[in-house]
Symmetry: D2
Subunit: 333 residues, 4 copies
């Protein structure tokens, strides 16, 4: 860690700062320049509160030389991680297509969609049973019953299932779920992350509404530091001042996360754009950016059939898209 002192910083205060840092077991290398003094901190600086240092009136700025994330860091784990969900592998060259309805509604619905997406080429089935909704008056999902319906669809198709968990209290219900999704709103629900670390089943961690890549990686670090190495990152769009789209899909996050971390990265173009017409181009772009998987909403029920343009694709649209995604993957190979 490097601490740049302010020009003309009070000498006595600076000495007290150096003493305090030494009392934390750190080595301090003081480099006096023409205009400013720079302190180099050597040793385990993870216990140093960077914000506190930065706020001192004798300090100009502080810079960490080494990253605070360790388990997720590619520096210490150069090879790609491969996460296995049943027979499906994600990462390290293994690409997966996840598809299914926004919410699980009925057995007929979820089984029909599961069969359709399997036929179209999907590797995994998604479907919401616990639904986080901005309004307490909106449909909150079928909950435990929805999980049972997902398992029926899995039995019928063989597709592993992925669904969102909103609270550690519900973990006993997720014993037989293949991949547990943490939604954007819970990305920094640290108690939930720790419990998922102990739980041990694979986790799909979605990037929060307005979180940085470092924060996403630190949240993955919470899961890994608690003993669970089976983590998949998911880019799903971030909040900006966008006018025509719900969120801004940050595809450059894909190669950057691959550079920073060994974890697989999946993209969700359905939630990012909120408009089905935008899903195919963004799914192809995600594949071209090097993503390890794509998660897409697909529906198959009469009410939604009304809506050509809704967030969800129709099975035949999805099938056509899968073929193009595969062709893009071949260009990258």
């Amino acid at each position: 860690m490097i601490v740049v002192m302010k020009k003309n910083a009070d000498k006595e205060k600076q000495d007290r700062l150096v003493d305090w840092l030494k009392s934390m077991g750190l080595g301090i290398h003081v480099s006096v320049g023409e205009f400013q003094t720079v302190l180099g901190l050597i040793g385990d600086t993870s216990k140093v509160d960077m914000d506190l240092l930065e706020s001192l009136d004798i300090v100009e700025s502080v810079k960490r030389v080494s990253e605070t994330f360790k388990c997720v860091n590619r520096k210490f784990h150069p090879d790609d991680s491969v996460v296995e969900i049943g027979s499906v592998k994600v990462g390290g060259g293994h690409f997966c297509m996840i598809a299914g309805p926004c919410s699980v509604e009925t057995e007929e619905q979820i089984v029909t969609v599961a069969k359709a997406v399997k036929a179209a080429g999907a590797d995994m089935l998604r479907g919401g049973a616990f639904k986080p909704r901005t309004s307490p008056y909106d449909f909150q999902g079928l909950k435990a019953q929805g999980l049972e319906l997902l398992k029926i669809a899995r039995a019928e198709t063989g597709l592993p299932i992925v669904t969102e968990i909103m609270s550690a209290d519900a973990l006993p219900l997720f014993e037989d779920v293949d991949l547990l999704q943490v939604g954007a709103r819970n990305m920094q629900n640290f108690d939930l992350l720790k419990e998922l670390g102990h739980f041990g089943k694979p986790v799909l961690l979605k990037r929060g509404l307005a979180n940085t890549l470092k924060e996403l990686l630190m949240s993955a670090e919470y899961i890994m530091a608690s003993g669970n190495e089976q983590v998949i990152l998911c880019e799903r769009g971030i909040r900006t001042y966008s006018d025509y789209l719900r969120n801004t899909l940050d595809l450059a996050a894909v190669p950057m996360l691959h550079e920073l971390s060994h974890l697989p990265v999946v993209v969700d173009p359905s939630h990012a754009t909120g408009i089905a017409r935008m899903v195919p181009p963004m799914a192809l772009a995600a594949a071209a950016s090097g993503a390890d998987g794509i998660m897409i909403e697909v529906h198959n029920d009469p009410i939604h059939a009304l809506c050509d343009g809704a967030q969800s694709l129709k099975p035949e649209e999805y099938a056509a898209l899968v073929k193009k995604v595969q062709a893009v993957r071949e260009v990258l190979a």
Copy 2:
């Protein structure tokens, strides 16, 4: 709710949409214009999924005429709400000053600071026992022990205590806490909000990192709809591309939240700016904007004494600030 159809929208699809909306028990008023058709939806539109409608390829745009928040809405509750925390009132002309250290560290520390802020004019004591940290390797707070120390400080000073809760699992430990704080990262942890609704004790709800005012109000609605009317809103800065400050303090949120809702609004300038030198001007600005209270970090220990510029104020700085805040309040009166 108003649905503006696209120019030349397919007539058959439009008829199916109208039928579907009618099947939900809504009255539909179709207004055919020169260029476009507009549907007016009459009845309980809270069950209509606005995003779904907006994504239809025959729909240009959708607009809600009435707000989806009800309990928090000033329209249905014109008078200011007053939240009572022990003998302290907040809102409706009652102004409160909340102060204390970032984290509870030792009995001596919290009691010393509590006495100092009381002497300076504070009405309530804050202090973190459960600490949400971006990194799993950072100090996570004294937890249950920290809560006990806060109660000792309350016994010594008579100040009601406010501290953060991170998970519904910990609620039994908070039976004797006066005001439960929901942190920015948990503003949309809906399961926690519902439990706090049932728990019934006063809640201080902080605005999330990048949440809109509507989302903040909907989260308050979760608590109120679950039966708890004792909610205080808190503006603590939002995430932007700011370069020299940690967050951007959105003070215009104060008069706007007062217009939209009857709930009291408190401002936290310490977390918003992250720099003690910026806290006094922003506290005065918060008072001038009409806030119902101000929450400020104050410390009193030798390590931090080193840091004139840290996020926390020293007790004597806080005492001077309280006097000026009171003078600004008098200008508004």
Copy 3:
């Protein structure tokens, strides 16, 4: 335009508002609902100040039914526009690759790079002569001399040239430039846009630092309304709270702009990411999203050769990328 009145809006004020709107030649359709009254404005509402209406204390909200952009609007021009720059066509299925150095430095440099990018498959040569820099102390470009060097490179290779114009004063120097670029910082320099409308040569309009798609289209409208139909839009990343990347490349803007407008859309992944390693995946993603062209920085000089990771690609990297971009284009076809 639809004006939703506040519940219990003062009747007299409402009548005055209706009279005022009628005095502007508009027809007003008043629709009285159970809870609220809605005014439908019929006629040419382009002269109505929406912000003014929205700010009235009797008005809840205002919604435009029709877009304010006309020349750029796909509704009134359903076919893709094709912009012709010399023999190069952009849009309507014509895809172009633009490449060259960030700044024009010497004749040797620009000619060498021009030949290299032509050999690699580029259709057009870019290079900065007038450089907008945040600091007045940074290199501001070779200006008129840089334009002359670009023309020499064009003579040597036959590639049309594109370069940035910062001020209408400089227009006489750009008589013989093939495509004039408006940079992000000048996207809302309306006087410059109008002059470019009169000038008549093709314009590449970059999206501003934090501008919405509507604002980008309105700026294109300035050029078109002044008589110049040869406009290409360019997405180059927007400002967010991104931590590891300079900007956030908003690729969903590509299909959305294509839906809203008939104008071609080009993507600049070099400025969006600021890191050469990120350029190839983002260029492929841009192609997969349906962009009509890609603009990339390529260098060929010894100082930069030091920098494997600089923003600019080396010619051999660019040549390899062009092949993959073409393969992605074939997938879309």
Copy 4:
């Protein structure tokens, strides 16, 4: 400047980098740590391209130790600057109230408003003659004629006038304007800034839509480096994802700009909020934050009189506000 090398950076590349930096006349201090090597650059680093260095694949990160802004920097000019506009002083304890209509419309209008705001306590008259509008179809101002009407109003009241300039071409028309405003959209129109530096008259520089404080200061640096020291900074709200307000007023920018620079800082709450009801609380908050002046829209015509809630205040509202602002100023003294 400090350059942190990547762990295991190629030794040969690093040597070439050091040689290149030395060839620029810089002294290099290489500090080899346990994990990483850090280069300290000594000398005039203003010519070093930080982005280029940062993008090298052997470089982890780069940090400037000294700021790139000089003329505007408080470090080199510890005392507050006082800008004089006729007999009005701004900064260094001198506070100014600027008021007037959004646009100059007629002689009667501007003279009436000028008299009203003078009576209410305003020190300067504002009014738009050249209007930057997002749409080419919106009213663009009375231009030269508007400037003449402003001068008439000045003659009638003695108030100095401030109005926006959009293009250097129009400078001859502004010879007799007291304070030239650069609007948010032109904050990085560097050619205009340079011309205003040569022109020499006082400039009110508004912060751009989404610009950082550093960028604002660098734009002021353009004016000062071109020879004009009479610069006032203006905070007018920045673009975020705000839902109920047009922009987010960043009041913490006021004390932070005062810390970084010696230039006066004025706040415009009218454009920041877009709603007259929000202007008084935000004006008071601006005064409490330590601003050196406040610019507010005031109208006095029958059409706007309809609009209690429009962006502009009525003269009587403004007069009441001025009194409260003065009372807040006394609290700070």
